[in-house]
Amino acid sequence: MFNIERWKEIFQSIKKNKLRTALSGMTVSLGILIFIILFGLGEGLKNSYSDLFLNEANNVIFIYPGKTTKPYGGFKTNRIIELKNEDVLDLQNEFSSSIEFVNPRLFVNETIKYKLESFQFDINAVGPSNQQIEKHVLMKGRYINEKDIEEKNKVTTIGRLVARDIFRGEDPIGKFINLGSRAFKVVGVFQDTSGDTEENKLIIPYTTRQQILKGTDVIGTLALTFDQSIGGSGAVKLSNNIKSFLKKKKSIDPSDPSGIRVRNIADEIDRSLQFANALQIIVTFVGIGTLIAGIIGISNIMVFIVKERTKELGIRKALGAQPTEIIKMILSESIFITTLSGFFGMILGIIILSSLDSGALQDYFITRAGVDFGIAFFATVILIVFGVIAGYVPAKRAASIKPILALRDE
């Protein structure tokens, strides 16, 4: 393959035919460049979606009670369904193999006071597993624990921003905050990487709250986590089973869309990621389209080049060039140009992608736009290979016609 004399021939031909070289080089460079940029932006789009869910545990199922919309089992329609403490135990027993934590939750509406000053924050009355479900990270002290639940302690673990606003640098641990008319002792401070909303919350034991509400055992909503290993379809099955279990228990028409609602985070993430994947696929298709356009472009140019050179090839044949020599000459030239310009386009594409202003791109929902080097390399090689195949056909034809026919070409 490597023949210094042939390469000298080829370099001369390339040097003396700049337009032809530029034309085919540009087609290949541009094809691969556009492919890489499109693909990279598609990746960025997908990254944005993935990031959205990065900070939440994705093996969570939420259960919301509501009003029935159908009469059933002797009950009238519009019945208000409530979750109770016993439901937590029943769920834990029934689905013990797949459920990890169950977290009852009540939303508390009380004024927050510290040393005569009032504050406005959300208060969540929950169980200790809230920490795992919301991915709260302790900064100081401790989270509310099982003992607090059992003893219905008036303790609270507060978000980082709550601590900052109320205590202003003072150590909050051991201090008392008034929630409504009752004083709660601060036992810990947590942070949450997912954003400000969580860090603006106060966490108290749900049993404490129930005691304050005159000893009720009603729960607002339930969140539960399940064993990751059951997978996406297992999660969907689990949430359906939970739904029918609770509906049966609460005598709700199985076909009633209301009454008990179950939300599966994994399912939602899946659907969003599916959307992101679909986008990626569309972008990839467009990219592949560009690549195909590039291949067609280089094929046309190869046909054009061979046509343009027909007479020259005829002269060479009349002087004794072998057909294989003609093919090798045309192919080596096209391999040389497409490889050089292909990798030039690839590197340029990668450079452009990495130099794009990530701040500006964020506005278009594109995060970390970039392309896997392997894919970029593969696409470039594909383009080169097809360029060569596309060149082979006309080269072979030109090499096999009678010299007199080639010479007659004007």
Partner: protein, 232 residues
């Protein structure tokens, strides 16, 4: 050197076929200088192209230096063209992006001769046609006569057994035609077998033998007294 028998050639034009060579019997001795004449369309170029292995015949045999040229594959044909035959065209057919020296060196490239050797040999032949000083000129920088001399140098570079020239002076004025013919005579005097297709009687008379083609057959074939060109 050349021996052809009962050579036939037809061109297919759409559905009909044009019978151009209708049984040519013809031989050329070593060292001969033959003019092939005939009116336009009589089949002169067709015959020369077949002799130069640029085209193939339908019927008949062709022996070149006692080697039968028949139905060979392109690879072998290329080899024969390169080693045995030098072709000169009316329209020069130089490669426009190569300079005079590179054009002359090209047949040697296809013989696998090293670059240095090629350039040396090519320069010798350029010198022979009087264009040593024009070695690095592109064809577009040369006159018609100079181009044809480069083409002749190129045809000679691989030291072929036979030189075939199809109207080598057809695109040249009378003075330059004379220059080119003087060169052809000189090469012939050195022993090379040469066939020249021409329209012009003056040119034909500078050869040693004239063959007349008419309607695809040889109607006349005679040795003549060569008009030797002096002081060009």
């Amino acid at each position: 050197m050349i021996e052809i028998k009962n050579l036939h050639k037809s061109y297919q034009i759409g559905a009909s076929s044009l019978h151009v060579l209708k049984g040519i019997d013809f031989s050329v001795e070593d060292g001969d200088l033959v003019a092939i004449m005939g009116s336009s369309g009589s089949g002169k170029s067709t015959l020369l192209n077949i002799l130069g292995m640029l085209d193939t015949s339908d019927v008949g045999t062709y022996d070149l230096d006692k080697i039968r040229i028949a139905d060979m594959n392109e690879k072998k044909a290329a080899n024969y063209r390169n080693k045995f035959l030098g072709f000169v065209f009316q329209s020069f057919n130089l490669i426009n992006y190569k300079n005079a020296l590179e054009n002359v060196a090209l047949p040697l490239y296809y013989q696998g001769i090293s670059r240095k050797e090629r350039q040396k040999t090519a320069l010798t032949y350029l010198d022979k046609v009087g264009l040593k000083d024009w070695a690095d000129h592109l064809p577009s920088e040369l006159s018609g006569g100079q181009k044809q001399r480069v083409a002749i140098a190129r045809a000679l570079a691989s030291n072929p057994k036979v030189l075939l020239a199809d109207e080598p002076t057809g695109a040249l004025d009378s003075t330059t035609s004379l220059e080119v013919m003087a060169l052809i005579q000189k090469i012939n005097n050195e022993g090379k077998t040469i066939l020249v297709v021409t329209h012009e009687h003056d040119i034909a008379k500078m050869c040693k033998r004239i063959v007349h083609l008419k309607d695809g057959v040889i109607v006349d074939d005679k040795k003549i007294k060569q008009n030797v060109i002096k002081n060009v």
